[in-house]
């Protein structure tokens, strides 16, 4: 092959590539000036949102990375996403923020609860969004965390692991699994005077976090603690049931999926177990009240939660019910999606007051938030993001019991409280580490 042909072979594709070089989006680092004198960089446009209410306003795009088709948390992820749409629509109806409306519908991506897919869809939407309105799951969020930090992107997590309490870019709400379990153990020790506690949990941040909290509380209260790891899947609960039935703990802290929990509760009860169960919020699904395990669940099960369920009587809950209207199946995924959106709204409002709606500006606004108005859905004092983790972490949770008449199958029996263990706990790193 002659040199000329090599040159020709190289020249054609090179020329072609150079022609399309312009296509590569220039990562503009220089902020521009947007509406009402706000400094903006990514994900904020002067053009109105696709579904704008007021066409004269600009648009702030927020991304959503959730488990929408095949993953294990679809039943929570879909209502969370719907509730967030309703939340931001309400914000837009009330006039938006700083001359902008907020869009959470254009950049919704399915992460299938897979860290790799999460990373890909995140990269796909990253240039077009200011912040992330929802990133569902802990392993998935962990997969984008380094990039969130370097890019100053604020993200609202849809999970309650205590890891988020120590990360600035993650805008968590309410307490975490760890302190929720502490409060549950404290509650059981005080109200039911239990002497033995067992944590039955999945491996990983969710189960391990709650088990760590239960263990800390058990040690503090001087009750016996045992720890049983279990796998997910209805026919994989045999070992856990055997452990419960043979050890006969007076309290079992459950961190599982709803169907696995139903199998454990139903079959332990069938084999004569009389102790109590307290499950963390993702362990519950209203459908369990129709299952074979329903009698056992009603007799033995209590449900802890980081905030009150769908039907609670607060201004925020009421607003949420009105905004969502008639939903096909009431589910506390809606409640969570709604609650999680408040701090991002507060941060955006604050950033707009500072006239800085850049990513860095939003992060600075988050760091200066001392309190967020959750309209009663979380008590006063919630939503502190400035300071050391031990000062900012929120420690209250509630306890509810199964109830056929309630909208999402549970009614609160103990309103938001902080147990002595959680109160004294020095929170500097995730509990399970």
């Amino acid at each position: 092959m002659s040199v000329r042909r090599i040159v020709a072979a190289l020249a054609v594709p090179l020329a072609a590539t150079l022609m399309v070089t312009g296509c590569r989006a220039q990562e503009s680092t220089a902020p521009q000036t947007g509406k009402e004198g706000n400094k903006v960089d990514f994900g904020v446009t002067n053009e109105p949102c696709p579904e704008a209410i007021d066409k004269s306003k600009g648009c702030i795009y927020l991304g959503t990375l959730s488990d929408l088709t095949e993953g294990p948390f679809k039943a929570l992820a879909v209502p969370i996403t719907e509730a967030q749409k309703a939340f931001w629509k309400t914000v837009n109806k009330d006039g938006g923020i700083g001359g902008y409306e907020i869009d959470v519908t254009k950049y919704v991506k399915d992460n299938k609860y897979n860290p790799q897919i999460q990373n890909q869809v995140y990269q796909e939407i990253k240039p077009n969004i200011l912040a992330i309105a929802q990133t569902l799951g802990s392993p998935t969020t962990a997969a984008i965390l380094p990039d969130l930090k370097t890019s100053n992107i604020v993200a609202v997590p849809a999970s309650w692991t205590s890891l988020w309490g120590v990360e600035d870019v993650v805008l968590e709400s309410g307490t975490n699994y760890c302190m929720e379990a502490m409060n549950s153990v404290d509650y059981a020790v005080e109200k039911m005077s239990v002497k033995t506690v067992m944590a039955v949990h999945l491996a990983g941040d969710y189960g391990d976090d709650a088990a760590a909290g239960a263990k800390i509380a058990a040690e503090k209260r001087g009750v016996t603690f045992t720890d049983v790891k279990t796998a997910s899947g209805q026919d994989n609960q045999g070992a856990a049931i055997d452990a419960i039935v043979s050890n006969k703990p007076e309290l079992v802290i459950l961190t599982n999926s709803p169907t696995d929990a139903a199998v454990i509760i139903g079959q332990s009860a069938a084999r004569g177990f009389k102790g109590k169960f307290i499950g963390t919020s993702p362990t519950w699904n209203p459908g369990l009240l129709q299952s074979a395990a329903a009698p056992a669940i009603k007799a033995l099960y209590l449900q802890s939660g980081p905030w009150q369920p769908w039907g609670a009587d607060t201004a925020g809950h009421k607003k949420m019910r009105e905004a969502l209207g008639s939903v096909p199946q009431k589910n506390d995924g809606y409640t969570s999606g709604w609650v999680w959106s408040y701090p991002l709204k507060a941060a955006l409002t604050k950033a707009a007051e500072n006239k800085d709606l850049t990513r860095a500006g939003l992060l600075a606004a988050v760091k200066s938030l001392k309190e967020v108005d959750y309209e009663g859905m979380l008590p006063e004092g919630a939503g502190n993001y400035s300071g050391a983790p031990n000062d900012t972490v929120f420690r209250q949770s509630e306890i509810a019991k199964p109830d056929d008449a309630a909208d999402t199958g549970v009614t609160v029996i103990e309103k938001m409280f902080t147990g002595p263990t959680a109160k004294d706990y020095n929170f500097t790193k995730p509990c399970y580490q």
Binding site: V228, Q234, A240, D242, S246, T259, V263, A270, S291, Q329
Partner: protein
Amino acid sequence: MSELVQSLVRGLGNGSVYALLAFGFVIIFKSMGVISFAQPAFMLAGAVIVTYLVTGMNFFVAVLVAAVLVALLGMGVERAVLRPMIGKPVFVISIITLGVDVVIRVVVNAYIGLDVRPLHDPWQLDTVNLFGTEVQERYLAMFITTMVLVAILFVFFRYSRMGLAMRAAAFDQEVALAQGVSVGSVFSLSWAIAGALAAVAGVFVSTGAGVDQQLWIIALKALPVIILGGLDSLGGAVVAGLIVGVIESLVGTYGSGIAPWLGGEFALVTPYLVMMIVLMVRPYGLFGTREVVRI
């Protein structure tokens, strides 16, 4: 003692479900030489259909209707997607069934909705006294139903014309074709039977807690079962299903006491470990046909 009996009954119950699923895999393998990865989707579909039907009719009728519907689905998939692939490499066909699985499962998931769907089965978590031990009725129901279904199928293969045709086709497709066996209808029927069995298995696994999206994973447990029993042995599928069920249950019950360092999830890998050990001794599974090697 009672712990042992309970563990055994649970193992036999779960094992029967594996046996049903494995039976479906083996029927398809015998007729087409393919492992169908669509079985998990059929299983999930069966369970979900029952949860919808059961509000309007008797549970057993609902199961029957669901089994027929999934059987039709299986036939449809075979006719539309797999028939054109006859003669193509078996692994290509297996990957196609994987695509089928994704499509069916996404559609079925959409019907599961937000809440766990209750099954309203007659057994619930009721127990019955067996030799002085309380055991759950549903495990006995699984075991008995499976044995009855398997017996019916064996009679069918042994004595009916179509059964004979299926055996002939499995033995040698071309010769069977030459003898006037409609190999196409053999394929069709294999998929129908596999679909129906998967649907029944799906119903059984969702007794107890109801249907959620993660149910399909259980169908994968049939993979070590079919290898353990021998890929082309229907009897092997049943025996191996029960063996795997019982071993898994015993390890779950006693494993954490004997060797706690193995962790709570060890029971999940025991089917594969048993399979590997047995294959070291018998490379074609317990009852599989030895391949005749000829130069």
